[in-house]
C-alpha cells in the first residue's frame, strides 16, 4: 500500500533509452497501421514525461489541440502493467471506415467498434514493439470506451488515477490523405514504472 507520495525520477540515460525504445515501438506501430490501412502514416517523435496523475490532463491538453475528444482505454499486463489511452479528436476515425472493411455509413455502434479496433491495433503494435525491445512478455485486455465526445478536461475526472506517478509516453499518429489523427498515451503505476526501469537498465547494460 503506497501511503506516501512517491516522486519518480528518470535518469538521463534511462530517459534516452526509453525514448529510443519508444521510437522503435511507435515506428512499428506506424508500420502496422500502414499495412492494415494501406496508407502512409505520419508519426510524431514520442514524448516521454513523468508526471503526477492529476497533471495528466494538462500534459495532454498541451499537445492535443481538440476541445472535444473520444478515448479508448486498454489495459496491458504480465511483465509490464498499466493502461494505454488512445485519444481521438472530433473526426474520430470515421474516415477510415472503408479501409477497415466497414460500409461508408456508420451507425453509432459501428463508429465505436471502429474506434476500439483502431486503438487495439495501435496499442498492440506500440506496446508490442516496446516489450520486444526490452524482451518482456505482455498481454492485453479487451479495449473499452472511456469517453465519447467529452471535453478534454473531463477525460480523467471520472476515473482518477490512483497512483502517485504516471509515466506518460505520448505520440501522435496522422494519416496524410485522410482526416484521421489520434494520440497514444501510456500510463503506468509507480511499481510498474520501477520494474520497467529495471528492464531499461538491462537494455542499457547490454549495449
Amino acid at each position: 500500500m503506497v501511503t506516501e507520495k512517491f516522486k519518480f525520477v528518470l535518469a538521463d540515460d534511462q530517459k534516452e533509452a526509453l525514448q529510443e525504445i519508444a521510437n522503435i515501438g511507435m515506428g512499428q506501430a506506424g508500420s502496422s497501421i500502414a499495412q492494415v490501412l494501406g496508407e502512409f502514416v505520419q508519426l510524431s517523435i514520442p514524448r516521454i514525461l513523468v508526471v503526477p496523475p492529476e497533471e495528466v490532463p494538462t500534459a495532454l491538453a498541451w499537445n492535443i489541440g481538440e476541445a472535444t475528444v473520444s478515448a479508448v482505454r486498454q489495459a496491458f499486463h504480465s511483465a509490464m502493467r498499466g493502461e494505454a489511452l488512445v485519444i481521438f479528436g472530433q473526426h474520430r476515425c470515421n474516415d477510415l471506415a472503408d479501409l477497415m472493411g466497414y460500409e461508408q455509413d456508420l451507425d453509432h455502434a459501428a463508429e465505436i467498434e471502429l474506434l476500439l479496433d483502431v486503438s487495439n491495433i495501435l496499442v498492440g503494435a506500440c506496446l508490442g514493439g516496446i516489450a520486444e525491445q526490452l524482451q518482456l512478455n505482455i498481454g492485453f485486455s479487451a479495449p473499452s470506451l472511456m469517453a465519447d465526445a467529452l471535453p478534454l478536461e473531463q477525460l480523467l475526472q471520472g476515473s482518477p488515477v490512483p497512483w502517485s506517478t504516471a509515466l506518460l509516453v505520448e505520440v501522435n499518429f496522422r494519416l496524410e490523405t485522410r482526416s484521421f489523427a489520434c494520440h497514444l498515451v501510456l500510463l503506468m503505476p509507480d511499481e510498474e514504472v520501477k520494474a520497467l526501469m529495471v528492464a531499461v537498465d538491462h537494455f542499457l547494460e547490454s549495449l
Partner: protein
C-alpha cells in the same frame, strides 16, 4: 503447455469448455470447431472442418470479419469484439427461452494469433463468449437509469415552479409590508409638512406686517404713523417669533428629508440582489426610523449594541426581516412597554435580538409562528406571512432565527447570521 496435462485432457477441455472455440488458417478454412460451436450452430465438426468459414456461414459479415482476421495474421496481435457494439458474430439462440428479452445470444469474441516455429502467425483462434445475461442486466440498468433521469427532470421542473411561487410570495409580502409602512410613513411626513405649512401662513402674515411698517418708514407722508404701526404689529414679538418659526420649519423639513432618506435606504432597490458587507446597526437604525410611527407611542426603544463586525448579507431583505420583527414587537405591546434592540457576536456568527415587553406567545403557538398564513390576529389584520417570509430570508442567509417567549412577560426574537457566506453560496 503444462507437462502434467495430457493431450487427452487438453482436447477435452478445449472441446467442452462452455465457450465457443474455433480456429481458421490463412485461407479462412476451419481447422477446429468445438462442442459449443457445434451445439449452437447445429453444424457438426465434420461438416465444417476443412471448409471455408464464410462458405459454411454465408450470413457472417464477410468483408469486415475477414479483414479483422487478416489483421491478426498481419499484426500478430490480439483483436476483440464486444457485444456492446456488435451484439453477435453468429446468430445463435440464447438460453432464455422462458424469461427471454433479447432476440439472440449476445457475444463477445477474442481473436488469438497462433504462431508457428518461425514467429509468423499460422492460425487464428477465435473464442466466443456468451454475454446474454450481462447484456440483459445492462439493458435493465440503462432503462432504470433512464426512468430515474426522467423523474429527476420532472422534479427539477417542479422545484423551479416552487421557487417561482416562493419568490412571488416573498414579493407580495414585501408589497404588503410596504403598504403597511406607507400609512405610517405618510403620517410621519404629513406631520412636519403640516406645521411647516401653518408656520408658512404665520410668516406670510408677519412679512405683510413688516412690509407695511417698512413702507411707512419709507414714505414722507406716513412717517409719523410708523411708531404706532410698530406697536400695533408688536414688532418685538414678531422678531422673536420669526426666528422660532424658521427654526421649527427647518427642523420639520429636515425630518421629512430624513424620513425619505431612511425609506430609500430601507428599500435599496438598486442593489437588492447583491450580497454586501453591511453594518447591522445601520440597518437597525434605518428600519427603526422607518417604523417609528408604529413604535413611538407604544414603546421606549433601548439599544444595546455590541461590538460587531460587518456581515455579508442582502441588506434590503434583512431590513424587511427587522421591520417585520419590530412592528410585531410594537403590536404585541398593548399599552406601553419597552422595545430592546441588542446585538453581539460569537465565533463566526453575529446575533441580533429584538425583544419586547408585550403579551408574549402561548407555548402551543410557538412552534407554529413561522408557518405561512399562521396568525393570531383577527381577520383582515395582517397577512400572517411576515414571519414565514422572514424565516425564509434568514434561511437563505444560512442563519437561524430563534424565539423565546413568556405569556404576559414578553417575547424575544434572536437572529443568528454567519459573518461570511461560503463562497459557492453567495452571488
Amino acid at each position: 503447455m503444462s507437462a502434467s496435462a495430457t493431450p487427452g485432457l487438453l482436447d477435452f477441455v478445449v472441446d467442452r469448455l462452455e465457450v465457443g472455440i474455433f480456429v481458421v488458417d490463412s485461407g479462412m478454412q476451419v481447422v477446429l470447431w468445438n462442442h459449443f460451436m457445434v451445439m449452437h450452430s447445429g453444424r457438426s465438426a465434420e461438416e465444417v472442418i476443412g471448409r471455408n468459414l464464410f462458405e459454411c456461414f454465408p450470413e457472417l459479415p464477410k468483408v469486415w470479419l475477414e479483414k479483422k482476421i487478416r489483421n491478426v495474421f498481419l499484426l500478430k496481435n490480439y483483436a476483440f469484439t464486444s457485444w456492446e457494439q456488435r451484439p453477435y458474430l453468429f446468430r445463435f439462440h440464447h438460453n432464455r427461452p422462458v424469461t427471454g428479452g433479447v432476440d439472440a445470444m449476445q457475444q463477445s469474441c477474442t481473436f488469438l494469433p497462433v504462431k508457428g516455429g518461425n514467429g509468423a502467425v499460422e492460425q487464428v483462434c477465435i473464442s466466443l463468449f456468451d454475454y446474454t445475461d450481462t447484456a440483459l442486466y445492462h439493458r435493465q440498468l440503462t432503462n432504470a437509469i433512464g426512468e430515474l433521469e426522467q423523474e429527476k427532470a420532472e422534479q427539477r421542473r417542479l422545484i423551479d415552479q416552487l421557487e417561482d411561487a416562493q419568490n412571488q410570495l416573498l414579493q407580495s409580502e414585501k408589497l404588503a409590508s410596504i403598504g403597511q409602512l406607507a400609512a405610517g410613513v405618510a403620517h410621519e411626513i404629513n406631520n412636519p409638512v403640516g406645521f411647516v405649512n401653518s408656520n408658512f401662513g404665520a410668516l406670510e402674515r408677519y412679512v405683510s406686517s413688516l412690509l407695511t411698517l417698512i413702507d411707512a418708514y419709507g414714505s414722507a407722508d406716513h412717517a409719523a404713523e410708523a411708531p404706532a404701526i410698530r406697536q400695533k404689529i408688536d414688532y418685538e414679538y414678531l422678531k422673536e417669533d420669526i426666528a422660532v418659526l424658521f427654526k421649527e420649519s427647518r427642523d420639520g423639513l429636515e425630518r421629512v428629508k430624513r424620513i425619505v432618506q431612511d425609506l430609500r435606504d430601507f428599500s435599496r432597490v438598486d442593489s437588492s440582489l447583491e450580497w454586501q458587507e453591511t453594518n447591522l446597526h445601520t440597518c437597525l437604525d434605518t428600519t427603526l426610523s422607518v417604523a417609528s410611527n408604529e413604535i413611538k407611542h407604544k414603546a421606549d426603544v433601548v439599544k444595546a449594541y455590541g461590538d460587531i463586525p460587518n456581515v455579508e448579507c442582502l441588506p434590503s431583505q434583512l431590513n424587511q426581516v427587522l421591520l417585520n420583527l419590530m412592528v410585531n414587537a410594537a403590536q404585541a405591546i398593548s399599552q406601553h412597554g419597552t422595545l430592546t434592540l441588542a446585538t453581539g457576536t460569537e465565533d463566526d456568527w453575529v446575533w441580533v435580538a429584538i425583544s419586547d415587553t408585550g403579551s408574549g406567545i402561548a407555548p402551543e403557538h410557538q412552534k407554529r409562528i413561522f408557518d405561512p398564513f399562521f396568525t393570531t390576529k383577527p381577520v383582515g389584520k395582517g397577512t400572517g406571512l411576515g414571519l414565514s417570509v422572514s424565516y425564509n430570508i434568514i434561511a437563505k442567509h444560512n442563519g437561524r432565527i430563534e424565539v423565546e417567549s413568556e405569556l404576559g412577560k414578553g417575547t424575544s426574537f434572536r437572529i443568528w447570521l454567519p459573518i461570511k457566506q461560503k463562497s459557492e453560496l453567495s452571488a
